[in-house]
Symmetry: C2
Subunit: 411 residues, 2 copies
Amino acid sequence: MRRALPPLRALLGAARPPRLPVPRGTCGPLAERSGHSALSVLPSFGFLFDIDGVLVRGKTPIPAARTAFQKLVNSQGQFLVPVVFVTNAGNCLRQKKADQLSHLLGVPISQDQVMMSHSPLRMFKRYHEKCVLVSGQGPLLDIAQDLGFCQPITIDTLREKRPLLDAVDHDRRPNVLSPSAVELPKIEAVVLFGEPVRWETSLQLIIDVLLTSGYPGNPYEQESYPHIPVLACNMDLMWVAEAQSPRFGHGTFMVCLENIYKKITGKDLKYEALMGKPSRLTYQYAEHLIRAQALQRSWEQPIQTLYAVGDNVMTDVYGANLYNRYLQEGSQSHLQAGAAAARCRSVLVCTGVYSPQPEVPPDTGDSITGTVFHGHRDFRFDPALVEPDHVVPDVDAAVDLVFQLENFAPR
Amino acid sequence: MRRALPPLRALLGAARPPRLPVPRGTCGPLAERSGHSALSVLPSFGFLFDIDGVLVRGKTPIPAARTAFQKLVNSQGQFLVPVVFVTNAGNCLRQKKADQLSHLLGVPISQDQVMMSHSPLRMFKRYHEKCVLVSGQGPLLDIAQDLGFCQPITIDTLREKRPLLDAVDHDRRPNVLSPSAVELPKIEAVVLFGEPVRWETSLQLIIDVLLTSGYPGNPYEQESYPHIPVLACNMDLMWVAEAQSPRFGHGTFMVCLENIYKKITGKDLKYEALMGKPSRLTYQYAEHLIRAQALQRSWEQPIQTLYAVGDNVMTDVYGANLYNRYLQEGSQSHLQAGAAAARCRSVLVCTGVYSPQPEVPPDTGDSITGTVFHGHRDFRFDPALVEPDHVVPDVDAAVDLVFQLENFAPR
């Protein structure tokens, strides 16, 4: 349960917020109406809801969430519109998250409506049969197996099988200096699910795997570049917890890994895939889930518009706008990738990280392009992508706004 | 007990070693004789001995070490020449290291002859009365207090006093979300003794201290740059243990800290001081110890030449040559800094990291300047500084060579 962070300028209080808080229920400057003159009863749109800062704050439900969800279901608790929950959290199974949401919102949520940062790994079938090293916390093996991986190996298991490798902690060094060799299959990919504990252990073993082409314990090889594939979920540098300043997230762990790799080899660590908001992969997979719901319900009207409701400019708004730009390009490859929507609209709520009232007046000498970019190394900061299409007070107002924009009046 | 590493090219086996292995007992091309025509009985030189790779390998004594040390003491076990042991290790008190050396070499070694990576901190008296955050492993508080620090605070203590800050490990997050405020003095400096365990905890708390100007738990401040002073001991990126490839050292932890700081703030982490070989501070302090020994023994002849005997091109040779260059500059500030020797000579032994016989033929397309630099960010790589003045098989040959160069014949 976490919120990713706005850039430091917002935390430090001397910066401009994104433009134009918009009064409840009205549409922003970029809104495009779907062109229905009569009220619709079948949806041609779907919702992508962020969780923390939109539906809950920490463990506290946001009151508007229950009100909003009463409008989204019929009297049998069936959804009237395709809905997917898109979170960058990744340390539990989606069924557990679905159960939490059902309890929180008072409507039944299926695990197929829940998308976590690791969910797109389901699409990477070419790795499912291979031995992959998994890094993170929580029920990692269960998560990996649920996603389709047949041979995941954890950092802890690798550490047991190759006890000489993890030498930082003096108290955990092995007593036996020549442990017997234990057979291990070649590790063919590394999957970074989220920030682990004991970073020195994970960093050392991941570097060992990369510099030995999947045979940790062997001497480092000069021929190990390009290295075996690395797939990473959740790039959030920091997140907001109870402390007064933001806490390290998985993105911070990745900063360490990238820079150690660069320092030792002189070369760049490359990611085969980066998942989690604001990555395109995440929105592609979310659209896939939206489409699957519509198909299951036999809604024949095509889904034209995705509305991504979130509280974070740098993940929710940036990600939705980035995906919208991709959809606008409209090439043949979109259809192959399962993207068929015409647009993705960003709706920013004020119940989480984002606040329309900055605590101190904006520093006019400060511009968004001149501030520190807390996004991932591989995402170039584009100021045009942090402007939300709509700003509303809360998630209930977001639902009202979308129903109005879409002339949607479910029966 | 650790050896710092040669650059990756040597590890990867496809590189050139430094020039010119020299036959036992002869002097290398840059040797300068001290100009005595008669044999001397009082020393005008001193020894700086590296430990691992020169006197021991792991826990195994190198046979030449005992032979060499028999030549360095008289029949009462008193040294005939000033001798200092200079190691980048730092996780124990110097008395413990002196005891280990006495046992190993069969001659009594005093703690005043032992210099560890943190030893120069004794000279930083301006921080001794202040509250400083200390990071590392081993008996940190004992080490800090032995060096003169009156108010050290460990990462673990800070974590207990500010339980909301360390949030990476889900299982170690506090149950109480609003712990009562505990008074803490302002932290006025950060001292990095060596690599800690649970890097995420140390990295998070050090960043918190730097971004709050010494009041961790407060919100981050934009005015916290330049940050409070950071002093670091031992920059070794990696070291050779029992594993077939090198293991992370304190330098790797520092790579993480520097890059997280840069990512979050956009600015460079600055070090008030960097200690341990190859830093100049280390050699200045070693010379200070050499001079103190000569004074104590009432050897009135000035110490002109320091011989630094080590097995590692990138730390022992580079550091000695760097200090020699400093001595050659011969400005007034040298005398103020306690530097009075005329020169520092590097003597490379072949019992440790360095091997005169590369395992594969040198790759003629590869040059030392084109390879990856594993030294610290703040040390620019200078190829001229990796050429040893002398190369000898072992430490016994090093002593023989120096006695010959100095025309030294103790009675």
